[in-house]
Amino acid sequence: MNINIKVNNKTIEVKKGELILDALNKNGIKIPTLCHIKDSFPSGACRMCLVENVKTGKLITSCSNYVEDGMEILTHSRKVIESRKVIIELLLSNHPDDCLYCVRNGNCELQNLAKELDVRERRVKGNKNNNFIDSSNPSIVRDPAKCILCGRCVQRCEVVMGVSAIDFVNRGSKTIVAPAYNKGLNTSSCVNCGQCIMVCPTGALTEKSHFNGLKSALDDPTKTVIVQYAPSITVSIAKEFGLQAGRDLNGVINAALRKIGFDKVFDTSFSADLTIMEESAELIDRVVNGGKLPMITSCCPSWVKYAEEFANDFIPNISSCKSPQQMMGAIIKSYYAEKVGLDPKDIYSVSIMPCTAKKFEAQRDEMTNKGISDVDAVLTTRELIELIKLYGIDIDNIEPELTDSPLGARSSAGKIFGASGGVMEAALRTAYFKLTGTELINFKIHSVRGSEAIKEARIKIGDLEVGVAVVNGLANAKLLLDEIRNGRSDLHFIEIMACPNGCINGGGQPIGSETLAVAARTKALYDIDDKESLKVSHKNPEIKELYDDYLEKPLGHKSHELLHTTYNKRKVFL
């Protein structure tokens, strides 16, 4: 049902029971917000969305009040604008005035609002909080001085991730968002997913930069710097360079990385194919030989840490396969090094990931071989964009290039790893072939695609009906795990990705992307799968070559040494 309200002296028609904020947005009126998270219970913390209720003369928050018939609202009266401005000034009075040095310079909601509200002098002065930067965590750096306490990260961590590594600590103006007991983030239950960074309006949460190590390696003539980039990367940077969201810049990225100075450019989608070979073999082994089921994917390091902390009863269920990043790292420093005659010590292995947890994963003890890490530095998509700008590369005028061989070829099954359900789809394609000896007639498994929290399917493979589930968002994972704890037993294989929508919306991706942009990236991945003919991992010629020359067979001796790992129970608080 529709009702009429008067906004800025003009009558508009709105839906009954709608939030004022939504109604205004639909009618082309922009209302600033800082703490608002769409479709979740209003926090009411930032007070930026205040509008004036003409009848009562009071300011009300449009994020928590609903439209009423005959309501009269002023969205930009003098009182409203001045109040919003004072609020921003109050925030700034306790904010380090160092925008020029801030990683979010130019992409900061506080900075934008200060500009929009015409803040031109320091009217409010006073003492600033003396907070320290917390760089204890391998993935995420907290700078409470820049935090405006909007609480979006707290909500993300609690509601979407079910981790609650951070919350409000202390009272009054001493309040900060911090891990329990205000200790370092490394001692907390943080799973390094970086979704907090994605919602942070300022530079209070950022990834831990690996720039310095990388730059030294690039300048070091004794080092061979090899880079791999994740399946999502090529479709995630276009918008940041003013191009259409989701456009695939595969060849351009290859060329750009070489211009920056990387000696070899490989595609993590190759090792995604490798993962599928190992993981599908492991699944079949578990099914045939009565191993622990359901088997759960291990590609997502946030999920793995979550399981080690909160769901360690499921550790035996997690596939022992390393993630594609780590498999690629391990292969570069073994097979590839041998093949081209390099000492693994002279290789500096870099990965570019849409993810902050990969920084954590790369430094896990289990991810080393004879004291040498599989991967030396991990950059996020955001860092890649900075790197391209730093080295002055004009991506509009650059000739696309191919990846290097032999670790550059990929199937489109490896490419769709970036989307939630992609690992599942790729694994099923190969498992089907391995079990039946024939290829699937229709490679598209629609029931595991899309952005729903939990997707399920029952797939007939020969005589076997396989129950699969795909989950994104760790809080959703808990729901499914609880079902299994309560006796559910019809599932064989589960894909769990920590971030909503999977890696394509990972914690290392460009900040401030709208839902539409994320959807465009996802679509781009599936379009590639549609267009290309090599749709299954087991037909990737370079994968075949790798097994023939070096690994022999999936789950073989070499594979176990290089491509598989173990997990350990962790304390939630150290």
């Binding site: 926090s43 004072v86 609020i87 409010v124 409000f168 009272r171 009054g172």
Partner: protein
Amino acid sequence: MNTSKNSNKDFLKDLVLKNYTKNSYSNEEEATLASIRNEHSPFPIIYIGAGTCGLGAGARKTVNATKKYLEDKGIEAKIIEVGCIGLCSSEPLLDVKLPGQNRISFEHITEDRVELILDNVLNNKLPDVEILAQFRSKSDKAWDGIKFLDEHRFFAPQTRVVLKDCGLIDPISIEEYIARGGYKGYLSVINKYSPMELCDEVEKSGLRGRGGGGFPTGKKWKFANSTPSDQKYLICNADEGDPGAFMDRAVIEGDPHRLLEGMAIAAYGIGASKAYIYIRAEYPLAIERLKIAIKESTDYGLLGHNIFGNGVDFEVKLKMGAGAFVCGEETALIHSIEGKRGMPRPRPPFPAVSGLFGKPTIINNVETLSNLPEIVNKGFDWFASIGTENSKGTKVFALSGKVATTGLVEVPMGTTIRKIIYDIAGGALNGKKFKAVQIGGPSGGCITEENLDIQIDYQSLIAAGAMMGSGGLVVMDEDTCMVDIAKFFMDFIQRESCGKCIPCREGTRRMLEILESITSKPAQGIDTLERFKGVLYLEKLGQVIKDTSLCGLGQTAPNPVLSTLKWFRNEYEEHIFERKCPANVCTGLRTYIIDVDKCTACMACLKKCPTTAIIGAKKVPHFIVADKCIGCGACFDACKFGAISIV
């Protein structure tokens, strides 16, 4: 003892509670009731005011001294530790009731004075001390020449509804409460009215929330009553956090069953079978008393399942709060009970629709609930007949500060503040000149001499730029600096802010900083103009914080500043332009000088100075370096020769 307790219990349950409509009793029954009320005791009864105020004044020692006295002399007498009767500044109070004689009350009975009092009174003589008053009774003999309590300056103008039995009855005896008519009202309510009818009656009585907001109680109950749900909750807000407010504590300590009965009545009206009392952990005595009261009334079947066979269930749980001021705010309080951080959330939804654990919840304050038993007993119309047009009944105030008599007073709505301050409390302390009274704690405002004649009710106080608040009255005299007072409240508020919404979190702190800059020694580079700009900004900031904050705490946080700015702007200006504190309170603005002629160069002041601002040596007259001096006054106190003066 136990058998008499059990026989009393049977008597009270079967004769009094089951026959709750019965009003007259046989002589024998009446005698039993009177003996339970300690009216017909064969031996003396000694009442000692042992509420928190009494204990603070040494009542524990008085109790022990009394016990020892009775033991040493082999006298059989009963000691009852009662709550506060209201005269906190006269504690420890010791009353003696001899068989057949009126209870007589003595003030300031510290342990050393126990013997003097008891030696005399127990021998039917009056000691040569100031006697507070004697209590009035129907049958007992009066003491000659001693005025009655209801004639006492402090008590005469009061109408005691909530405090009716506070300080009179034994707070750990449910028997005495029932023997005085307690819980009969509750039982009659659940038999006579449907829950909705009760809400109607309470609404008609005009009872409004005593916690500060003043929302009509019956109307509030109806919201929860009419929201369908499998479970509803009543919460008693006993998180009394305003500086200068101690009414709720006194009621609970002195008469806990009154609160429990009130809660039972309210719960019935709401349709709640479960209730929480959210009480601050800093009130250990009140918590102890409540625990006993809950246990006793459960034993009597007044709490629990199917109460007195009426098919009504009611259960009360205690929840201790950690003493955060903001947890007095309804939604923060609910979060705290749920085990979450005590932070307010936006409303709607209102707690009456979705509150504790997402269920309809009504939160009432201790005083509101404690009004209910008497309203039910004397009638809803009776209550409506007290007070003013829009504010019915009485209001309890906690008097403190620079006032002759501090304590608790309960007056009908419509009483003037002048009457409370001057007639009841005896005016400002030590004959000083009254300056203002802060009403409503940190959320309230100042009432000055010129506004003293306004009648207390919800509307008129708001019109005067203050608010009822929970009922703290802090009296200030000519020696009080109003800027300092504003600073005190601002400091309190900015510390107690939960930190959630920006205007309250950041704004109150900036307001405090501006006040600090006005009251401290001018720092280099901050000239008068800067300080003046600060004051101008203070008003603007205050208005924005009021307009934009999330909860009541923030919305009222600037009140002390805005109110003092309104009434005492001259004091602010003097601080800024003259750099002087007219009341000489703000140490930062004091300048001390040493009179060389009077200085004996003893170095006493020099040694005390915390900032080594005094130079000099033995036999060399001393000198204060103004730049280093912080105005603490240590030198002034140290000088025995009057050589140091404030200019």
